[in-house]
């Protein structure tokens, strides 16, 4: 792309040599003649016969293709004509010395490059000016001699030379420096910064390959364009090697740039095309690196032209691509790419004097670099925008999912709640069936079997029993204290208190013998059954026995055994008759209940001693 800038220099784009116009003072400085001739051995000046008239800028090797390296002498004869006797100060400006050289004024040494032998210094794009010492000059014709050193196969010659009024020469020098150095320094800096910036972007976003290709293209371009500015061949050991490396950098830069446009434009480039690009590049690089000395020049030119053609072709094909895709981004890039060939064409016309203007390539190069960066910035901004939109969409869908989840959870919670409620109802129904239902069935059977009409106390006793069962069911289901008491003391405390209060009123002595702790806590149903047993037994004692002493005793003989004894010294009853006739509904129901929770109930009764013994097997937690 930007190597066309080099073309400009290569072709010695500066204006043809000129003599300074008349200065503000009256003196006029004129260049009378320019001669050139090959140096002799050890760089001595050519013999008088070997001088030949030339015009500056002069490219010696163009007229002498057989130039085999060494030095060329240029002799510039000039004179200052002043109206008065006094001479004015004179300044000298050399726009370029290809490739290195030294300057003599009237035979006196004025200046020389650091290296006049390989590796040569590089003054080919280094405008320099000097004040000519007053006492070195004399009236009439003065001579400036420039010895130029070059290498075989490379350009050798002398650029425009200006002699004249120091002020004018100074301005000219500034202008030349701006156009031939500062502009390229800016170019280089811009390319470098952009290259590093996009390299960093690419490192972070490896999938966005076009950043990488652009970065490499810029960095290779920098390596190439540095040739314009360097004045020492370091670190290379010969001018030829430097030139080769230069062209290699150019080729790589162009190849990377092609890859960039393809990736950026999302072009469906056939792999074969890419392979071809890299094969051509590879072959040319190999040729530059390996060609024998005599072919190096040809290889350089081939490499340079190939790079130019590839670049131009790519610019044109992208124009077509942009036309097809009609995407704004592509159109801008295509326009941007076309700036460079157009600028190149313009400068070519300038060089051939078809139009009269300053070269615009360095400018257009900077402009297109900025434009390219702007396009990529746009792309980046667009991607960021897409990410932001994606984030918004993501947040939206997360919120939606959360709402749905909430609804689902609420539904599940409601389901679980109704399930729990159902379980609870089932539990109550179960309790009612097991407790009340059993007692009711039992009582109904007793009533059916009974041959005599039931006495009111019996009916009352049945109803009370059912009421107590009902109360326990309700207590168990509705009070918060469904948990199994931690100790036997805690279990018996409410019953004990309730009955001792009554025993105290009735003057019945009671004794309560319970262990300090459970060995295995009974299950909930077991402890409820035991509570009912104690309640029923003690109620019977109060109502029917006329006892004076009651003893309740709980033993835990084994880890999984529980024995509860309730003994009184009351009137007693006929156990068998009670069981048969169902006089006491309580005893039969209690027996059934204790059996249901995995135990047994023994009743022994005689006048003066009645003993209920309940045995339970505890299943453990």
């Amino acid at each position: 792309m930007r190597w066309l800038a080099l073309l400009v220099l290569w072709a010695f784009a500066a204006p043809a040599w000129a003599q300074a116009p008349a200065s503000a003072a009256d003196c006029t400085t004129r260049i009378l003649a320019v001669h050139a001739g090959p140096a002799g051995a050890d760089g001595v000046k050519p013999a008088a016969a070997d001088w030949q008239a030339v015009s500056l800028p002069d490219e010696w090797n163009r007229r002498h293709p057989d130039f085999a390296g060494g030095s060329i002498w240029y002799r510039i004869d000039w004179r200052q004509d002043c109206p008065g006797a006094a001479r004015e100060p004179v300044a000298l400006l050399l726009q370029s010395v290809v490739l290195a050289g030294e300057v003599f004024v009237n035979g006196r040494h004025l200046w020389s490059d650091t290296h006049l032998t390989e590796p040569l210094s590089r003054s080919w794009n280094m405008p320099r000016q000097w004040m000519l010492p007053e006492n070195w000059l004399h009236d009439g014709v003065n001579t400036i001699e420039v010895r130029v050193s070059g290498v075989a196969g490379q350009s050798v010659g002398l650029g425009p030379v200006f002699i004249g009024d120091p002020g004018h020469i100074g301005r000219l020098h500034d202008s030349l420096r701006w156009h031939h150095r500062t502009l390229f320094e800016i170019n280089l800096i811009v390319s470098g910064i952009v290259g590093i910036l996009f390299f960093c972007v690419w490192i972070m976003r490896r999938d966005q390959t076009f950043y990488g290709w652009y970065a490499f293209s810029s960095l290779f371009w920098m390596a190439f364009a540095a040739n314009i500015l360097i004045i020492s061949p370091w670190p290379f050991t010969s001018s030829l090697m430097l030139a080769c490396v230069n062209i290699i950098a150019l080729l790589l830069s162009v190849a990377c740039f092609c890859m960039f446009t393809w990736r950026f434009g999302e072009q469906q480039v056939r792999p074969r095309t890419e392979r071809t690009l890299w094969s051509v590049t590879g072959v040319l690089i190999a040729a530059l690196a390996l060609a024998p000395l005599s072919f190096v020049n040809a290889a350089q030119w081939a490499g340079f032209r190939a790079a130019a053609i590839i670049f131009l072709a790519n610019c044109l094909q992208f124009l077509v691509h942009a036309w097809r895709t009609r995407r704004r981004e592509h159109a801008i890039l295509a326009a941007c790419l076309m700036v460079l060939p157009v600028a190149g064409l313009h400068d070519a016309l300038v060089l051939t004097h078809l139009i009269d203007a300053q070269p615009i390539f360095p400018w257009s190069n900077i402009a297109s670099t900025f434009a390219l960066s702007a396009i990529m910035g746009l792309r980046h901004a667009r991607n960021l925008g897409r990410i932001e939109r994606f984030n918004e969409e993501l947040a939206e869908s997360v919120a939606k999912a959360r709402r749905e989840l909430t609804v689902t959870l609420e539904r599940e919670h409601a389901l679980a709640l109704s399930h729990t409620r159902l379980q609870y109802q089932l539990q109550i129904a179960h309790d009612l069936h097991d407790g009340l239902g059993g007692a009711l069935v039992h009582m109904m059977r007793s009533v059916e079997r009974s041959t005599e009409p039931l006495a009111p106390p019996q009916v009352l006793s049945m109803l009370k029993f059912i009421r107590d069962d009902l109360r326990q069911t309700i207590d168990t289901n509705y009070s918060a204290s469904v948990t199994i008491p931690a100790t036997p003391q805690e279990w018996i405390a409410p019953l004990r208190h309730r009955f001792t209060a009554m025993f105290d009123e009735l003057g019945i002595a009671s004794e309560w013998l319970l262990p300090e702790a459970w060995r295995t806590p009974p299950a909930a149903l077991q402890y409820l059954a035991l509570s009912r047993l104690v309640e029923e037994a003690l109620t019977n004692v109060i109502k029917h026995s006329g006892a004076r002493n009651v003893q309740l005793r709980l033993d835990l003989p084994e880890a999984d055994k529980l024995v509860l004894r309730v003994e009184d010294d009351g009137a007693g009853f006929d156990v068998a008759a009670v069981r048969q006739a169902g006089i006491s509904i309580g005893v039969r129901s209690m027996t059934a209940r204790i059996v249901r929770v995995g135990g047994s109930l023994d009743v022994v009764s005689e006048p003066g001693r009645t003993l209920l013994t309940a045995r339970l097997t505890l299943a453990g937690a």
Binding site: P494, R496, A501
Partner: protein, 224 residues
């Protein structure tokens, strides 16, 4: 065992205010009170808070039996009013089911005992008799609640509103399920001393709840 045997040596405080909205329950309690020896004219009935308040205007009473669930409000309100009028009045709660928190709230309002409706006549009568004889019914649940509610008093400061060591001891034994007589035997006290301790505990509970109410009112700026 005959009822007459149970009613011997009873001093009957009268008149008795019976507040219950259920006619059946009222009749049952009336029968029990008559059995205990009350003359019919010593019994005053009310079916609502409004009626009860009307009765109070007419005459002073010596014993109140109050149902908690009344058609025009909670019996706890009435208990509070009764206690404010007469600090020495015996107030018994007649509660339907064993709603323990409600009974405890009634005790805090100033009730001196309670009995559950669904119990046998005999059991209710024994509870009534205990109250008439100056006893103070209590049960393990209530004892545990009081232990949590009232702070233990500091040694040497008997009247700071906290429980004395003896009172704490008695409550602990109640919580274990011991009857008042057992407790008396255990602590070498008469049963009546134990009961007077319990009454004093109830009094402290009531005072404490009133103090809390005043404190709360002060904090809310209701009292100047």
């Amino acid at each position: 065992m005959s009822v007459s045997a149970l009613t011997a040596d009873l001093v009957l405080p009268s008149p008795v205010l019976l507040v219950d909205d259920e006619p059946g329950e009222r009749q049952r309690l009336e029968a029990l009170l008559l059995d205990l020896g009350y003359p019919a004219d010593a019994l005053v009935f009310a079916a609502s808070l409004k009626e009860a308040r009307a009765c109070l205007i007419d005459q002073p009473i010596a014993l109140a039996l109050v149902d908690l669930g009344l058609p025009d409000g909670s019996g706890i309100e009435l208990i509070d009013e009764l206690r404010t009028r007469d600090p020495g009045l015996s107030i018994m709660v007649i509660s339907a089911w064993r709603a323990r928190e409600e009974i405890f709230a009634a005790l805090r309002a100033g009730a001196t005992g309670y009995v559950l409706k669904e119990r046998d006549d005999l059991e209710i009568m024994l509870a009534l008799r205990s109250v008439l004889r100056g006893g103070a019914p209590i049960d393990p649940f209530v004892a545990r609640q009081i232990i949590e509610e009232l702070p233990a008093g500091k040694v040497g400061q008997p009247d700071d509103g906290g429980l004395t060591p003896r009172e704490s001891e008695i409550l602990r034994l109640v919580a274990e399920g011991l009857g008042n007589r057992d407790i008396g035997e255990r602590l070498f006290l008469s049963r009546y001393t134990v009961e007077s301790h319990i009454k004093r505990i109830y009094r402290k509970l009531e005072v404490s709840s009133r103090t809390q109410a005043i404190h709360a009112a002060g904090q809310r700026g209701l009292l100047a």
